[in-house]
């Protein structure tokens, strides 16, 4: 951990990304403190008022209001909650499931491996966002469904990397030694395999986080994600799109938050990859 931070000091871009991301996490956790107004308070009389620096803007609504008069800034701050929560949860659920399956496939080999890897092939053979949209259309918009669908779209790359790494590790002599010493499978996996395969999985997780944050926003944008009364960046973009000609701020500003968030995650992921293994590619 110390080495991680020491190395990071040498890469200013990664430092900046870490600061931005931490800021967003803080903003999301303490949204009620930071948000100037209630994100769901409607006031149709002040609908589509511009940001404070533009003509007709007021200082009450720094980033203006949307089509029903809700405060854009407050909704962006609350939107960070959904984006980060869904992103982190889906990576956890999909990542742990995928990694475990990969570990099992790589460690036990045989027909278990064949079945698991065929499942991976099927999952990777189809654009996940398309399937996610279709499933969401049928099960209906809700937060739990979004998390389920995006976790389902996440597990396969983890499985593939975990299996590859496990195969490599199991060829090492220390695993043979552990076996010779009479260690149980569970003990070998927990003490010797997992610690040696975890780093590449962390790198995969960082890129999966970026992808899932974008995918959640895409689902909400298309109207099949988190229900529209909850403030989400994707949902705000989708609603604001209809007012683009008269109120550019409603649909562009949440996108900047989204982009900043995803870019920070990507920069950190890229840096982590270089840190752990300069040769690990996608």
């Amino acid at each position: 951990m110390n080495e991680l931070f020491f190395q990071m000091r040498k890469t200013p871009v990664a430092m900046v990304a870490l600061v931005v991301l931490s800021g967003l996490v803080l903003l999301a956790l303490l949204a009620p403190l930071f948000a100037p107004l209630d994100p769901n308070a409607l006031d149709i009389r002040i609908r589509l008022s511009p940001p404070s620096w533009a003509d007709g803007g007021t200082s009450t609504h720094l980033l203006g209001t949307d089509n029903v008069g809700r405060d854009v800034l407050s909704r962006i701050i609350y939107g960070a909650r959904i984006s980060l929560l869904v992103g982190v949860l889906t990576v956890l659920v999909g990542g742990v499931t995928g990694s475990l399956l990969g570990l099992i496939a790589g460690y036990f080999r045989g027909w278990v491996e064949t079945v698991i890897m065929r499942l991976v092939d099927i999952q990777l053979a189809f654009p996940s966002i398309l399937l996610a949209v279709a499933i969401m259309a049928i099960v209906g918009p809700s937060m739990i469904n979004v998390i389920f669908v995006l976790s389902l779209a996440t597990w396969a790359p983890f499985c593939r990397v975990a299996r590859g790494q496990t195969l490599q590790v199991c060829n090492q002599e220390y695993i043979t030694a552990a076996r010779a010493l009479g260690l149980k499978d569970l003990a070998i996996v927990a003490r010797h395999v997992i610690p040696n395969i975890i780093n590449p999985l962390i790198v995969v997780a960082s890129f999966a986080l970026a992808t899932n944050i974008i995918n959640e926003a895409s689902l909400s944008f298309l109207g099949v994600g988190v229900p529209p009364d909850t403030p989400t960046w994707g949902g705000m973009l989708g609603e604001g799109r209809n007012y683009l000609r008269i109120a550019w701020w409603v649909s562009t500003l949440p996108g900047i938050a989204l982009m900043l968030c995803v870019y920070s995650v990507n920069v950190l992921g890229d840096w982590l990859r270089d840190f752990y293994d300069p040769r690990l590619i996608d």
Binding site: A125, F126, P127, A134, V224, R245, W248
Partner: protein
């Protein structure tokens, strides 16, 4: 070689079967599609006779069997709302999607390959760093947001380009850029790392020792070998293009298959969704099969794996 082709072919059929099964299961998970028409000014008798006419009253296994049997004949079921064969709707919309995807693919290849090669050749120079941070940034821009910003800047503010619909070259420009950006960035990064791998190999040193000009080494000897993983990636990228088309076509009101899918979803026309998903899987699997096979022609080592 024949064994390899047979194996890939079998795998493709298997994947297609799996996707078709999932699509079928999803459609019939919530009862039969005719129930969706309840409340649509249909009487119970009308719905019942419609159910009978469409065959939804038959056992599920029979319907499933018929659906699978129909796929090789190009029969992807019938849209509940429009009551026309799904394939007819797909054929109507296909040219628009092909036009958009081809334009995007053109942009992807003509930007990402030179950019990736340049970055690899001039590695660790400011030009490389700018190009690669730019690519990482482009990878972080959500497709729908990019589309909206392009519409705002070039359509609403500057009034240079039309912002929706299909027709002229000008109509194609913004959607193609929107669709291409993410993949361009990803492929450029891949070309760079692949080139770096190749440039470190012995035959490049030999080429250099023979006194070949640097451009020839980079663009002929190295690039040809570096493109092998890129071609595989392009096949997979077709998948993101399909997903991206869903969003891009929605943002630009582009009358293609992506928009058809979303309209089907919004209308809860599940047989249409099922058909489009299966068709999408078919297209994707066929493209990847072709990519895999071409890959083995380019690199004989693959065949003997």
């Amino acid at each position: 070689m024949l064994r390899y082709v047979a194996k890939r072919l079998l795998m493709a059929v298997f994947i297609l079967w799996a996707v078709a099964t999932i699509a079928f299961a999803l459609t019939f998970l919530s009862g039969d599609p005719a129930t969706l028409l309840i409340g649509d000014h249909w009487t119970t008798e009308q719905i019942d006779s419609f159910r009978e006419q469409m065959g939804y009253d038959r056992p599920l296994l029979v319907q499933y069997g018929d659906y699978l049997k129909g796929i090789p004949k190009g029969d992807f079921g019938i849209s509940v709302r429009q009551q026309v064969p799904v394939i007819q709707l797909i054929i109507q919309r296909l040219p628009a999607t092909l036009e958009l995807t081809a334009a995007a693919l053109f942009l992807i290849l003509f930007v990402s390959i030179p950019l990736g090669v340049l970055s690899a050749v001039k590695r660790n120079t400011p030009a490389d760093r700018i190009a690669m941070s730019g690519a990482l940034f482009a990878q972080s821009v959500p497709t729908f947001w990019l589309g909206i910003v392009l519409i705002l800047v070039f359509g609403v503010w500057l009034r240079w380009l039309p912002v929706s619909g299909r027709g002229s070259f000008a109509h194609l420009l913004l959607p193609a850029i929107t669709l291409a950006t993410f993949s361009t960035a990803r492929i450029a990064r891949l070309v760079r790392s692949s080139m770096l791998d190749v440039l470190g190999q012995d035959f490049i040193r030999t080429a250099r020792a023979k006194g070949l000009p640097e451009w020839r080494i980079n663009y002929v000897h190295a690039l040809r070998n570096a493109l092998i993983p890129v071609i595989t990636m392009l096949g997979i990228e077709i998948g993101s293009l399909l997903g991206g088309a869903l969003i891009t076509e929605t943002v630009f009101a582009w009358p293609g298959i992506g928009r058809l899918t979303l309209q089907a979803i919004q209308a809860r026309d599940l047989p249409l969704v099922q058909g489009v998903i299966t068709f999408g899987a078919l297209a994707f699997v066929v493209v990847n099969l072709l990519v895999d096979l071409s890959y083995s022609f380019i690199d004989p080592r693959i065949r003997n794996e």
